[in-house]
Amino acid sequence: MILFILFSTITVKAFDTPNDGGGSITIKAYNVPETVKKALVYRKTEGDTTYTLAGVMSILSYRYVDADSTIKNGKPYYYRVDFYFPDTVISVVSDSPGIAYAQWYDKSKTSSLIFLIVFSTLVLVFIQLAKKDPEGLYIRKIPALDAIDEAVGRSTELGKPTFFVHGLLGITDAGTLAALTILRRVAKKVAEYDTPILVTNFDPIVMTASQETVKQAYTEAGRPDAYNEKNIIYLTYEQFGYTAGVDGLMVREKPGAIFLQGYFFAESLILAETGHSVGAIQIAGTTAKEQLPFFVAACDYVLIGEEMLAASSYIGREPVMLGSVKGADWGKAFLMGIIGIGVVLGTVGAILQSAGNGALMNVFEKILAFF
């Protein structure tokens, strides 16, 4: 009898799964004793006489999301959950039917939206400010970008070609766009010094864009006649096939300067070590954090992560671009502020809590849940 009272306190609620496109109902059980071994969820809708098995409820979260393909929006569904105990089975029916709806706004993503608005406002405001007042815009030194001219110059002195090796991601990657900006600078220098350049590509679209970029750079340098489309070559779209091809070209052409720019994977070190072995001065740049250690070890200069993305602002020094860098920096300050506040609140809250006052900790946890 006592057992029965204990079991009878279990309640089951069925409700529309929040923040989704409909077609799904969440079933949640409350006050479930820990002795429960298994819980099965059954479903019934208007017109059905019996319940049919919907699935197994997790006995860790006591939650089950019923996203069966038969569930229609706006129609009531009734649920029964059978709780299996070592010696008995208890069936509990949900107090009210669950009805699925499609939502137009995902509340769980509010935090993203707020940050998005804050960040884009910052960037836009600073771009506008930079347009109005281009004086006084500053960007810190990035040695790897300053070294471009030196590398191409040295290569020219040695009478060797310059290599530009693209990474493996397509034109939709921000790093690839940065690589194109760097390529433009490299190609301009190459055109001025009148030395050969070879650009290797993994992605066909990037190849097309590279051709345009190099052509443009030659025109800017006043030598459009010297541009040769055949110097921007496509190798293959297979990671290690590309590696084999670039390595082969490196040892045969013996470039004096090599630029490894873009998103690389495991091949990073194979390329960089081969490049080093032919005695080239190497400038690498990638946003792939896993590959940075290898470039740092094997190359002369490395653009680390965001340094690469700042290249277009650094090289061009256009006010609009510099403004966006400034805006992004303020975004960083904003994020650091949040981390800082979080750490202070968390620490003070934990200290107060151990002294018996949990109020601040509650506030902190609310903030944490927001993320």
Partner: protein, 215 residues
């Protein structure tokens, strides 16, 4: 038409794809599915033609001009031919298809030519990692010293011998990976993340146009 309209397209598509993320409604999900799983992939298929054209021109040029090592370009074409033969030829009805299936089996070509080449190229890393460590890991500056000392400790902690030298070593390695290493990784990721968002915004707003080539 030539300059402005592409920027309008980029702006519209960017905005739609961004907003779509916040709307769980089926209409928005369907839009996302059609874009990502169909349209963008279909558009990208056409660019393969450029890849093939460029590959072909490069090697044909070498063969035509009898440039040094032009025979290797012939080998490249043979590779393409083998794969195409194995991939499509076995559908030819009758004896030819059967012959191709038996002697130019696509799976065999993949398993005994393509995959070993891939794996061997990948495994070159084991040699290069050693030569790079030997050459570059010198205690020239404070930063370089930090780099080489951490690398050495982590390497030692990953082999049984390290643990038998000092029982606490695997724990130290785990701590380095979990805290100072993770901290820098996070810093890099946040920086790159913000930089990428800024770049994407510049694309949508038409400020970043390098992908469209010359103006």
């Amino acid at each position: 038409m030539r300059r402005t309209f592409p920027l309008v397209i980029a702006f519209t598509m960017g905005l739609l794809m961004m907003i779509q993320y916040f709307i769980p409604h089926p209409i928005s999900q369907k839009f996302y599915k059609i874009m990502v799983q169909q349209w963008l992939i279909i558009i990208s298929i056409f660019f393969y033609v450029f890849a093939w054209r460029s590959f072909g021109l490069y090697h044909i040029n070498k063969i035509k001009r009898r440039k040094e090592g032009w025979w290797a370009s012939v080998v490249a074409f043979v590779g393409v031919f083998f794969m195409l033969l194995a991939g499509f030829g076995d559908r030819i009805p009758g004896g030819i298809g059967h012959f191709i299936y038996k002697y130019f089996n696509f799976d065999d070509l993949y398993n005994y030519m393509f995959a070993p080449l891939q794996a061997t190229m990948f495994s070159l890393l084991a040699f290069f990692i050693a030569s790079a460590a030997f050459r570059a890991f010198k205690a020239r500056t404070m930063e370089a010293t930090l780099l080489l000392v951490t690398a050495t400790i982590v390497m030692l902690g990953r082999v049984p011998l390290g643990a038998s030298m000092w029982k606490g070593l695997p724990k130290v390695v785990e701590w380095i990976l979990m805290y100072p290493n993770m901290a820098a990784q996070r810093g890099i990721m946040i920086g790159v993340g913000l930089g990428m968002i800024a770049t994407s915004m510049k694309i949508i707003l038409g400020i970043e146009r390098s992908y469209l080539g010359g103006e």
